[in-house]
Structure formats: C-alpha cells, structure tokens
Amino acid sequence: MAEEVLVFGAWGSPFSRRVEMALKLKGIEYKYIEEDITNKSPSLLKYNPVHKKIPVLVHNGKPVAESLVILEYIDETWKDSPILSKDPYERANARFWAKFIDEKCLSAIFKACLGEDKEHEKALEEASELLQFLENELKEKRYFGGETVGLLDIAANIIGYWLGVLEEASGAELLTREKFPKLCNWANEFVSVSAIKENLPPREKLIAYMRNRFGVGTTSK
C-alpha cells in the first residue's frame, strides 16, 4: 500500500527538524512542506487547529502534532532503527530529559544569550546549571541514546546545534569546552551523523535570521 507521509515545518525550527531527523534515521520517505509562520497555510490550520503550529506529521491523512508526541509516534509506527530503548526505566529517563529540555532549557538558553545586560550574569548561571544536569546525564556515552542516536539526542538538537548558532549570533558564551567537555563532544558527534547533518539549517542563514529576529550582534560587548 502506498504510504503518504507529510511534514509541515519551518526551515529554521529545531522542532520540525526533530521530526525530519527521526524519519531520516529510519529511512522513511516523506514530503516536506515549508510553512511561513507569519502566514499559515489552510492545510496547517486544518491539521493543527488547536495550536496552529509546526511541526505536524500527516500519515495517510491523519495528523499528529507536538514534536515529542510525533517522535514517539514515529518510533512506534516504523520499528527499524528504534530511537527508544525497550527498557521502561530507560524510556522514562529519556522522556524526562526531553521534557526538561523543552520546559526548562529552551527559555533559559534564550535568556542567557539574549537577555538584558543586568540580568545577563544570573541568566547565564541558571542556564549553566541546567546544562550541567545534561552534562552529567551523558556520562561516558557517545550519545544520550547509548551507541546510537535516540529520542533524547534528537530532542537535544537545540543544544547540539541551535545553541552554538545562537551563541555566535549574539556573542554570548554558554556551552564552553572547559565547563561542558562531554556536551561539546556529544554536539560534535551528533551533528556528524548523516541523518542529522542533512537536516540542519544552513549556519550562516540561521545566524542572519537570529540576528535579524532578535536584534542581536549589533551592540558591542
């Protein structure tokens, strides 16, 4: 039976890239639809009426929204190259840290890189504390998922790539090698995986976008 897989995304979004990374890792063919988030398509609004956001995965006409929900759907539907362990405790652990990244790290990273000067020190400290948890979680593993890229690695794509780009765009220094040697190594490993590499937005384009969107990189630090 012919299978139709659509991904509604935005080129710069780590969230829609997560979905593409998972599909690529499993060798699943899909059609990508770029959304202009300032001018959302009728299809997007139809497929995600509740949040009206990307990413949305549409599998044989049925839409799934929310990137972490989509990742689990992908893993349960296409069983080759699993991204979650079979062990319930390891699964719970991966889910815990993925949620931690989305609920805590994202806003902390933004504040640390883009926040106002007087709050800057504090924001940097808070973001560092959060990253330290992830540094510790990595331990001696090559990937968060162990020997292969897993759900948590994909969820951590923000840290593996977007954070570095944000740092360059804003001049902030957060993910340093001296403080986070394991995370830095992991980031290098992560972006070298072909299914991941193929799915990273071009660096220069992303820097320019961030500078423009967040009005950074124009003041001297």
Partner: protein
C-alpha cells in the same frame, strides 16, 4: 515493618500525585504512599528528584521516576499483566498523548490563571478555560467513540491526565461562582466526570471538594500574605 517495592512520594491535594496512584490502582499494585509535609521537602524527595524537587516521584526498587505522566507511562510499561492504560494503536496513543500535553500546558495554565486573576484578567482566563473545555468535549466525543471514557471501556491515559484536575475544577467553580462543566455546553464531560470519580481506581485517591476548598483558602491566604519579592 511492611516493606514495599513501590513507593509514591506525594501530597494528597495534588492532582499530579493522583495520577500515578490511579495508574497503580488500575494495575492492582500495592504501594507505600509517603506523604510530604506541606511547606517542606523531605531528604528523600530532594534526593529522588534533584532536578525539580517536586512530587510526585515513583520509587520502584531503588529507581526514582519523576514527572506524573512519564510515571503513568512507566507504570503501564512495567505492569503488563494489568489492564492497559494506553491504547495499542500508535495513532490513538499519539492522540491521547497530545491531549494530555494540552491539559498540562494550556488548560492548566488557564485554570491557574483563573484562580489568581482579578477583574478584567479574570474574564479572559474564564474564556480560555471555557474554550479549553469545549475542545476537550469534542476530543471526548472522538476518543471515546461512544464509550464511557477517553480510553474506551476503561480509564486510560487521557482520563487520568484530565480527570485528576476534576477536584480543583470543582473548587474553581465554587470560588468563582461559575459552572465550568455544564450539561448544556459539555454534556459528554459532565457524565464522564461522574463516571471517572466513581471508578474504583479513582475513588480512594480523589480528595473531597470541601477539603480541597480548605487547602485553596490556605494557599490564597499564603499568596496574599507573602512578602514582596526582593530586588
């Protein structure tokens, strides 16, 4: 001294703490409920959940699991001989997870806002809560497919996620003098709520509304009497 392999660290008024307890009841798993003292955090809690320092925590053997919905999924995956909490079809599972995330992120924020808002803000939050309930009413129709619960014949993930808020929903209705679950607007949910609260897995852990109201008053007083934030 009774020793149990399964412990839940929690507090009885918390909807989040209710969730793993319902799940364990569904699976007929015995557990020790270790009640945290209001206003302080035990050593065990700080050790088991160093990241968030929050309840609930499930301690299975020596392994801590945190975050209520993650705990519920863990329980479902470990105790496979009991009734399933998640459906078997990946798409149905995704829909349950989607709405559970909606409840925690959007719906809860609106309810929380409503509890503490004043004047104009209150109306805005009330609208959000009403809108949310309309969405959930629609979701109930689609998920239940005419059956008793979001999960079908039996309580499932989304029933647990949303149903755990019913106590506080009733408190919000009383405190604000509004009817949120309404026979006219959300008939499906009204009946579902009755069935959920009466279910054997839920009854013993759903706090009485009167008791929650008292907690609500204590919390409100605490917020009013709180010292101003330091600059």
């Amino acid at each position: 001294m009774a020793k149990n392999d399964v412990k839940v660290l929690g507090a009885w008024p918390s909807p989040y703490v209710m969730r793993p307890r319902i799940a364990l009841n569904i699976k007929s798993v015995n557990y020790d409920f270790l009640e945290e003292t209001f206003g302080s955090k035990s050593e065990l809690l700080l050790q088991s959940n160093p990241v968030h320092k929050k309840v609930p925590v499930l301690i299975h053997g020596d392994k801590p699991i945190c975050e209520s919905m993650i705990i519920v999924e863990y329980i479902d995956e470990v105790w496979t001989s009991g009734p399933s909490i998640l459906p078997s079809d990946p798409y149905d599972r995704a829909i349950q997870r989607f709405w559970a995330a909606y409840v925690d992120e959007k719906f809860f924020a609106a309810m929380k806002g409503l509890r503490s808002a004043q004047g104009e803000e209150r109306k805005a939050f009330l609208d959000q809560v009403t809108e949310g309930l309309a969405l959930l009413e629609e979701a109930f129709g689609k998920c239940s497919k005419g059956k008793a619960f979001f999960g079908g014949d039996r309580i499932g993930l989304l029933d647990i996620a949303f149903g755990s808020f019913l106590g506080w929903l009733k408190v919000t209705e009383k405190v604000n003098g509004v009817k949120l679950l309404d026979e006219a607007k959300t008939p499906g949910l009204v009946k579902w709520a009755e069935r959920f609260c009466a279910d054997a897995a839920v009854k013993s852990v759903m706090p009485e509304t009167e008791k929650l109201l008292e907690v609500s008053k204590v919390l409100a007083a605490k917020m009013k009497g709180a010292p101003p934030p330091k600059n």
